[in-house]
C-alpha cells in the first residue's frame, strides 16, 4: 500500500485563470445618457443647433452691454435711423438702439417660453404621475377633468385669460399655461402605466427592489427622455404664441420689451423702415429654428429604436 503523499501548499494553489476570463467585458460600459450624448455629438445638425443657441445665449446675456447704446430713453433726434456703425440694427421710432432692444426682447421672450415649458413639464408630471400612482377612482376622476380641460380651444382661452389678468408677464404666463400641461400629463400617465406593467419592473419587484430604487432606476430614466423632448419641442410654440399675441395687441403691452412687442411695433413701418421688423423677426426665427433642429436631433439620439 503506497503511502498517500500530501500536497504542498504551492501545489494546492489555484491556477491563475485570469488569462482565460471569457466573461470579462472589455469595452467600457456606456450608459443610456452617455450613448445619447455620443450620438448627439456625431450629428452635425445637433452641433449646429447647439452652436446657434450658444451664440444666441451669448448675445442675450451680453448683447446690450456690447452694443452700449441707449435703448430706454427717447431720443427724438435719432429716430428711425438705418443700421450703421454705432447703431448696428438701426434705431426705432423713438430713437432707441434696436440692437440692444432686440437682445433685451429676446431675453424676455426666451424666459417666458422657458418658464412656460417648465410649468408644463412640472404640472404635467405631477398630474400624470398622480393618475398613474393612485389609479382607480382617483385616476378616473382626474382623467375626466383632463379630458375637459384638453378640449378647451387653447387660443380662445389664452385670449380670454389675457383680458382678465392684464397684459403683463405674469398674466401671459398664466394664460399660456392653463391648457398646456394636459398633453404632458396624458403622456406621462401612459408611459408610467406601461412601465409599471413591463417585465423588467416586475422582475425588479420580484427580486425585492425597493419602490425608491424602482422609481429612480427604472421609471425616471425611462420618462426623462420624453420630458426632455417635450421641453424642447414646446419652447418654439411658446415663443410663437407670445409673439402672435403681442402682434394682435392682446399680448404684452409695450412698456416691456419682448420680441413680440418689437415685431408688432415694427410691422407698421415695414414699408419705410424695414429693419425695425426684420431684426427682431430674424432673431425669433433663428431661436425657433435652433430649438426645432435640436429637438429633432434629440429625438434621434434618445430613441432607442433608431440606433440598432
Amino acid at each position: 500500500m503506497a503511502t498517500m503523499r500530501t500536497l504542498t501548499s504551492a501545489e494546492a494553489a489555484r491556477v491563475d485563470r485570469s488569462r482565460f476570463d471569457a466573461e470579462k467585458i472589455d469595452r467600457p460600459t456606456i450608459t443610456f445618457w452617455q450613448g445619447a450624448w455620443i450620438r448627439l455629438r456625431k450629428n452635425p445638425i445637433a452641433i449646429a443647433a447647439m452652436a446657434m443657441l450658444g451664440i444666441l445665449l451669448f448675445f442675450i446675456l451680453f448683447g446690450p452691454t456690447i452694443g452700449g447704446e441707449n435703448y430706454i430713453d427717447i431720443a427724438p433726434s435719432m429716430k428711425n435711423m438705418p443700421p450703421d456703425g454705432t447703431h448696428w440694427f438701426g434705431t426705432d421710432a423713438m430713437g432707441r438702439d434696436l440692437f440692444s432692444r432686440v437682445w433685451i426682447g429676446a431675453r424676455l421672450s426666451l424666459l417666458v417660453a422657458l418658464v412656460c415649458a417648465f410649468i408644463q413639464i412640472v404640472v404635467g408630471c405631477a398630474y400624470g404621475g398622480a393618475m398613474a400612482y393612485f389609479g382607480g377612482v382617483v385616476d378616473m376622476v382626474m382623467m375626466r377633468i383632463l379630458e375637459i380641460v384638453i378640449s378647451f380651444p387653447s387660443l380662445l382661452v389664452t385670449l380670454l385669460v389675457m383680458m382678465v389678468v392684464g397684459k403683463n408677464v405674469p398674466g401671459l404666463l398664466v394664460a399660456m399655461s392653463i391648457t398646456s400641461w394636459c398633453g404632458t400629463a396624458r403622456q406621462m400617465r401612459g408611459q408610467l402605466m406601461q412601465l409599471r406593467e413591463s417585465e423588467y419592473v416586475q422582475a425588479a419587484q420580484m427580486i425585492g427592489a425597493s419602490p425608491v430604487r424602482i422609481i429612480t432606476k427604472h421609471l425616471l430614466p425611462n420618462t426623462v427622455s420624453i420630458l426632455i423632448l417635450n421641453l424642447c419641442s414646446s419652447i418654439p410654440g411658446y415663443i410663437f404664441t407670445e409673439a402672435s399675441l403681442s402682434f394682435l395687441g392682446m399680448g404684452l403691452s409695450n412698456d416691456v420689451i419682448s420680441l413680440g412687442v418689437l415685431i408688432s411695433e415694427g410691422k407698421a413701418k415695414l414699408s419705410f423702415y424695414p429693419w425695425e421688423l426684420v431684426f427682431p423677426t430674424v432673431v425669433l426665427c433663428v431661436a425657433v429654428l435652433a430649438f426645432n433642429l435640436l429637438g429633432d436631433a434629440l429625438r434621434d439620439a434618445l430613441d432607442p429604436r433608431t440606433h440598432q
Partner: protein, 319 residues
Amino acid sequence: MKTLIYFARRLLIMLLTLFIIATATFFLLAATPGDALSARVERLPDVVAERLYAKYGLDRPIMERYVNTMTGLLQGDFGDSIIYEGQTVQSIIREKGPISARLGIQQMLLGVTVGLLLGILAAVKKGTIWDYLVVALSILLISVPNLVFALMLQQVFAGNLKWFPVIGWPRENIWFGGWEYTVLPTLAGCFGYIASYARLLKASMLDVMNQDYILTAESKGLSRGEVIRHHVLRNSFIPIVTQLPMSVAMCITGSFFIESVFSIPGLGLYYVEAVAAQDIPIVMGQTVILSAIYIAVVFLTDILYTIVDPRIRIAGGKR
C-alpha cells in the same frame, strides 16, 4: 352595447365641457375691470346711462345675469351685440363664418396637398438630395411664424410688385369671386400645413416601409411603384386621416393672425375686437360655438380612428 355606453358617456362629457367653458367665459369676462358700456356712457347723463345699462341687462346682479345668459344659451339665444348695433351672434357667424371658412379651406387644400406630395417624395427618395431638401424646407417653414410670412408676402407681392391687393376680401360672391384678394392670405397660411403634413407622412411612410409585409410584397416581385401605392401609402395614411379633422378645427382659430394682417373681416378679427371691448354676448356666443365645433371634431377624430384602423377598438376594455 358597450359602444353605446361609450358614446353616451362621451356626449355627456362634451356637454359638461361646453357648460364649463361657457361658465368660465362668463365669469372671466365679468371679472375683467370695466365693462362694454363704460367707455360709451362716460359723457352721457346718468339717466341715459342707467337706461343703457338696463337695456343690456348689465344693471342686474352678476348671478342673475349668469342665469339669464345660460338660459339664453340653452335656447340658442346669445343676445344682442353691445358694440355692433343690431348684430347678434347668429348674424355675425352667418356673415363672417363663410369668410373664415373659405380662407381656411383654401389654405388646407393647398397646404395639405403640397405637404403630402412632398412627404411622399421625401420617403420614396430617402437619403437623396430630394429628401434633404424636403426636410430642410419643412423645418424652415415650421420655424417661421405664419404672420411673418403674411407680412413678407404682403410687402413683396402687394407692396413692391403690386400684383395683388394689399388688404381686403371679396365682397360679392364670397365663395368663388375675387380670387386676387385670397392668394396672399392663402399662401401665408398654407406653409404651416405643408411643413407638418410633409413631416407626418414621411415619418409614417418610413415606419410602414420597415414592416415585414412590405418585405413580403417586395419578395412577391411587385414593382416598387405597386408596393408604394398598394401597401405603403394605404397603411401610412392612418395618422394623416386622423390629423385632418384637427387641422379643420384649428384652422378656424389659426387664421386670427392672418386675418389681422390682411384686414380680412372674418370671425377671428371680430372675436378679438369683441374680447377687447368686453362684448359679453358676442364673446360668449362665439366661444361656445367655436368650442362646440372643436369638441365635436375631436370626437369625430376618435371615431375616424376606428374606421381607418380596425385594430383600434373604440370602447376597448383594456386601458
